[in-house]
């Protein structure tokens, strides 16, 4: 009996897996050419780009914080990448981004941890700042790269697997390792679960906070570089509409927005789920507004399911 309950609990805790399987089945019925190699490949590539951003923000969400500035960071770094590539050649694209991501990460991290500004508010402010910087750097319009090799980064393939997917997987593994096997990971969970007691337990919560924001900035910068290399253009408005979808995918995946609960498998599944929805939308041939409608309804539906499973969980806990 107890065992059964435990299982049920676990299942209800991981509702995203059901969602995923359901949508995969649906896809087979709806999407004419969903299960074609090309399409699945495309799906994975999309997932990988969004996923890289999601990995970063997951750290922040696990702390129970949020990062509204993630999208503008992506666009800012896409611009920086192009500028760098023109100045110092291809290699500097990723390099410069990663280096500069330290600054943006620190800005968020310090404001939240040391100045104690509410994370949502902080990042809402930095969001505007980053967008401004992007626009200033780009001179108000998308800037194209002069060298044609700029595409090479994105189109490069490792054993027939596009590099973006490889990078994404590597990030995923590293992140999962960090979270599951290292002290840092546990401390992140601790802070997310209850910041005060984590502090009392002698954890340097400020340090953890800053590191998490650095990680999210780092991932944003990598994504930015990839986008830049994919388009050969640095666009200062590219990421404006990425923030909320990415956060949504994480929450849908089962990262508890109040922190302390969730893992990267869930993040991955969440992002994959959303991407499948978008992909199906693209194939469905609905008009733009029908698509908006469907996506809105899907998001709400998923939230409902989460709520429901939460209830199941509570009941079980009560019974135990």
């Amino acid at each position: 009996m107890k065992k059964k309950q435990k299982l049920l609990l676990w299942l209800s805790d991981n509702s995203i897996f059901f969602l995923l399987s359901i949508i995969l089945v649906l896809a087979a019925l709806v999407g004419k050419s969903f299960y074609t190699k090309a399409n699945l490949m495309l799906l994975l590539k999309e997932t990988s780009l969004y996923g890289i951003i999601a990995i970063g923000i997951t750290f922040v969400l696990l702390l129970g914080f949020t990062d509204m500035s993630i999208g503008p960071q992506v666009s800012m770094f896409s611009v920086i990448a192009i500028l760098a590539s023109q100045r110092f050649g291809l290699a500097s694209m990723v390099l410069s981004c990663v280096l500069l991501s330290i600054i943006s990460g620190l800005l968020n991290g310090l404001l939240v941890s040391k100045v104690h500004v509410v994370p949502f508010i902080t990042t809402l402010g930095t969001m505007t700042v980053f967008k401004g910087i992007a626009l200033i750097l780009a001179g108000g319009k998308p800037i194209a790269s002069s060298l044609l090799t700029v595409y090479d980064i994105y189109t490069y393939e490792l054993l027939g697997v596009p590099i973006s997917i490889v990078v994404f997987l590597i990030f995923l593994i590293i992140a999962a390792y960090l979270l599951y096997f290292t002290k840092f990971g546990l401390q992140v969970y601790a802070c997310g679960g209850n910041l005060e007691s984590a502090k009392a337990a002698g954890i340097n919560t400020d340090r953890i906070t800053i590191i998490c924001y650095l990680l999210s900035a780092f991932c944003a910068s990598c994504a930015g570089a990839f986008y830049a290399s994919r388009m050969g253009v640095g666009s200062p408005v590219l990421g404006d509409n990425y923030t909320l979808p990415v956060i949504a995918s994480c929450v849908i995946g089962g990262i508890r927005s109040t922190g302390g609960k969730g893992n990267f498998v869930k993040t991955f599944c969440g992002v994959l789920f959303m991407q499948i929805i978008y992909n199906l939308m693209a194939m469905s041939g609905f008009d733009a507004y029908t698509q908006y409608f469907v996506i809105g309804v899907v998001i709400l539906g998923v939230l409902f399911l989460d709520k429901y499973t939460e209830k199941v969980q509570k009941i079980n806990l009560a019974q135990e």
């Binding site: 676990w10 991981n14 897996f17 995923l20 004419k32 050419s33 074609t36 190699k37 090309a38 399409n39 699945l40 490949m41 495309l42 799906l43 994975l44 590539k45 999309e46 780009l49 992007a134 626009l135 780009a138 108000g140 319009k141 998308p142 194209a144 790269s145 595409y151 994105y154 189109t155 393939e157 054993l159 027939g160 697997v161 596009p162 997917i165 997987l169 999962a176 599951y180 986008y227 994919r230 388009m231 050969g232 253009v233 666009s235 200062p236 408005v237 590219l238 509409n241 893992n263 498998v265 991955f268 599944c269 992909n279 693209a282 194939m283 041939g285 008009d287 733009a288 507004y289 698509q291």
Partner: protein, 333 residues
Amino acid sequence: MKKFLALVLSFILLLSLLASCSGKGETPVTKNSSSTVAAKDGKKTIAYITPDSRSPFPVKYSSAWKEECSKRDWEAVILDGAGDAAKQLSLIESLVAQKVDMICVTPIDSTAIGSGLKIAYDAGIPTMTVNADCDEAFHKYTIGYIGTPNFTFGYRSGECMAEALGNKPDKNIIICSLHDGFQASMDIVDGFKQAIKDKCGNVNYLDEQPGKSDKAISQALMEDWIVKYGDKIDAVFGADDTVAVGCINALKANNMLGKVIVVGAGGDGDGLPAIKNGEMYGTTYQSAAAEVSLVFENIELYFAGKPLQKEEEWKMELPIITKDNVDGYEPAY
């Protein structure tokens, strides 16, 4: 333990997906095989990727697209770029995956679209840029371009403005552009400036701010400009009629309409009435329907295996609308 199980599970899922894609699709089909695709049945699927279905012109464009398709009973697939250059790329890729017969796209960014066009080319699916063109570098991937470049579009409005200014230099002009960071907006403004430069010589631009194709915003801007520059302002250019009319509202409220020349672009249901009752001097008329039908003529030519029309053949004239000829036109959208 369970967490680990989950880890393993999802990795299996992931690997299976990867495995199914390894080798990346089938071998590239050569271009002429598109005719064989055509041969498989008469019914063609023509896809169009909009720049952003949230603004009126693309919407008009897509509805025209649907009509043209239904005329030929072809299937129309209309996808929304949602103002995101990267999304346009992935849309192209997914269209490639669906193996449509032809992909037409209005690039949000002339360079960014390139890699997408290349992918379609490699997959042997013909692409065509409509309304706005991609960079020279990528022309080799497309079967051609039909449309009215934003630059020319702006240029025509510029000419209209110049005419209104009597081709005199040293006028004070204010520009109300569309969106920050979008190429289309920039091109229109650049075209406009170019025309003014050619016709009037050097003029003095007081200010240039984005109206975000939102009347409320452009009106607020104009109000501030009036306060700031007052009677200095000789003319205002709105990068589309919506913002132009926004500016007109502000001018009207400060009864400066007579003194300031306003020129818009697009010739939509806001602009034409304003011209009729003499509030707006003129605008450039861009007809979605005409352009789309032209596009489809060329698509047919392509499927018939004939070369597309040369630019000078289809050269779309962008009529300038002023009080004199306004009655001859229906609102473009």
